[in-house]
Amino acid sequence: MSETSSCSPKPRVGLFVTCLVDVFRPTVGFAAVKLLEDAGCAVEVPAAQTCCGQPAYNSGDRADARDLARRVIAAFEDFDYVVAPSGSCGGIIKRHYPPLFDGDPAWQARAERLSAKTYELVSFLTDVLGVERVIARYPDTVTYHDSCSGLRELGIKSQPRRLLATVADLDLREMAESEVCCGFGGAFCVKYPELSNRMVSEKAAHIQASEAGTLLAGDLGCLLNMAGKLQREGAAIRVRHIAEVLAGMADAPAIGEPDRGDAPCK
């Protein structure tokens, strides 16, 4: 654990990459590393991590959820902090791991210790490290979707907006109903595709009505869902994870966009 001394060592942060960022959007992981390192953290990425177990947990499969939670706890409990670029995965570790071990005091205690030092990326930067501004430039109008788990389980609402306000040339335009679910919901979007489609259609309409050039959010699941819908509808709105913009790493093509070269001119 970190100790306060005259030359306190850098806090050791274990990055929980999340399975979606790992496969779909590594840029988000590197942006998280940059933001954390810029804020004075020593970042490590345990190779033993796979998934927080949410698919099992939300499908009622407690045994597999516990099994995966134990692996995450074992892989991350030696760090000073655990940080995830996702309110959903961060919320599972922080809010749901402890009750998952009801009746198992030894593991519950370990889950509680991990919970206490686990954070979503943006709230960790602002609420724990006290970061008030970032050095980044993003010349576009931006609208921000409040992903449900981050908003309601972790209280993430003002933190991303405060940091976005310090990004040069960025103009934030709030959409209507930014706090209403986009319809992703993990397995929900494939188990109830028509309902999910209705929800993401309404979300896409609000995004487009904001007339922003870029949509940002803090959870890749929601972003893939909204980007996929916007692109199916032919909307010319770029979709990015907020970490890319805050880290000044928004050079890669936006989510679901073609590689540079045949990208439409901005």
Binding site: V17, D22, V23, F24, R25, P26, G29, E44, V45, A47, A48, T50, C51, P55, A56, N58, S59, G60, D61, R62, D64, D67, L68, R71, A75, C148, S149, R152, E153, E179, V180, C181, G185, F188, C189, V190, K191, Y192, P193, E194, L195, S196, N197, R198, M199, V200, E202, L224, N225, A227, G228, K229, Q231, R232, V239, P253, I255, G256, P258, D262
Partner: protein, 474 residues
Amino acid sequence: MQVTSQTFKSNAGAALRDAALQRALKNLKAGFPGKRAAAIAKLPEFDQLRAAGRDLKNHVLEHLDFYLERFEAKVIEQGGQVHWARDAAEARQIVLDICRSVAARRVTKGKSMISEEIGLNEFLEAHGIQPVETDLGEYIIQLRHEHPSHIIAPAIHLNRDQVADAFHAHHGPYGFTERNEEPRALMNEARQVLRQQFLSADVGITGANFCVAETGATVIVTNEGNGDLTQILPRVHIILASIEKMVPTLEDVGALLRLLTRSATGQEITVYTTFSSGPRRPEDLDGPEQFHVVLLDNGRSGMVGGEFQDMLRCIRCSACMNHCPVYGAIGGHAYGWVYPGPMGSVLTPQLIGIDAASQLPNASTFCGRCEEVCPMHIPLPKMMRHWREREFEQHLSPAGVRFGLSAWAFFAKRPKLYRIAAGFGAWLLRRLGGRKGRIKHLPLAGGWTAWRDLPAPQGQTFQQQWAAQRGARS
């Protein structure tokens, strides 16, 4: 009423394609949430009230036997009768027996979800007794042979023209031969038709928002005054209440009422708040000769002390469904039984069995808006997850879901294998995305790509790139 909860998915699809329903649902979304927010903004102590309400109901549930017996004693002391009903069938029979004891032919009814839960109207009709709903929304759907689609706004799924059609089809015999579509005229029509029913009813049946153990009173909140006419004019008043409606004192009712009306309609108080205590006393000018309270269990006592106990705090305000994006998209009928929306997705499996309602707790993104607005702090998503656990334990989950989960878990528990699979998946999806960077059609993922593109991965996984850049450190 026929249960169609297990065809939720197709019910929902039909609801999404029902243009009239979609038109009506726009009114719901535009109305309730804004009114609630405005009412709560004017009450700075709302969150303290919520906490107090939660604690109060928890206290009652921990001492439910005490409060039930105390309430019963008080009702009897005031000349009323209490009937205990273990299940819906017993409750129906109790009501029928009371009706028969006074040779009742017509029964007026205030709004009661317990009446829906026990299927009372169909039962009374089958036994030659005519039930007449007197809440305007309930009256409209009774004419249309429908069930409520919402627990406080039963006809919220309808538009004005549909109401006009229903009245036009049924009100001819009462002298209304012209089709009216103007709201005031429609209301006047209903008022005049219902007045005749009120005056000729033998029995009046109402629900109860609260049962006060201290005084033996039952409480209803209404906005139309129909509840009062239902319970005062006939010779017999029957109250249908489920056992968790107990509240210790009149003061406690005050606290819960402040939460209920604001959360429901955004009102500070409803137009009528009616307390009923026993039959008419000699000095009373009006009131029923008989006063019966039917206390229904129907599976609720089995929730006490278990993982669904918190659900018994519910005061039926409807805030959860008013704010639910799923309910807002499809309305209440798609849920396939009496209680729709998030509260229904928790309560219905308890009342009719998880095997008959397992779709409902699954049809949620766990967005958490229901819990956020619940005035009783009921952890609705958590309890929906508990139902999914029951479903999984009892092997009721669809085979495809179980197979997918176990295949995924197999890899997720083997990090080295997982990294290889993830790398392969990213590579494959990247190839499928081609130069466009997204996939328009993906076999086995039709649920996704039927409606939206799938953004393609960037290339190598994060772990692959990280290992290449910095070497694996674990």
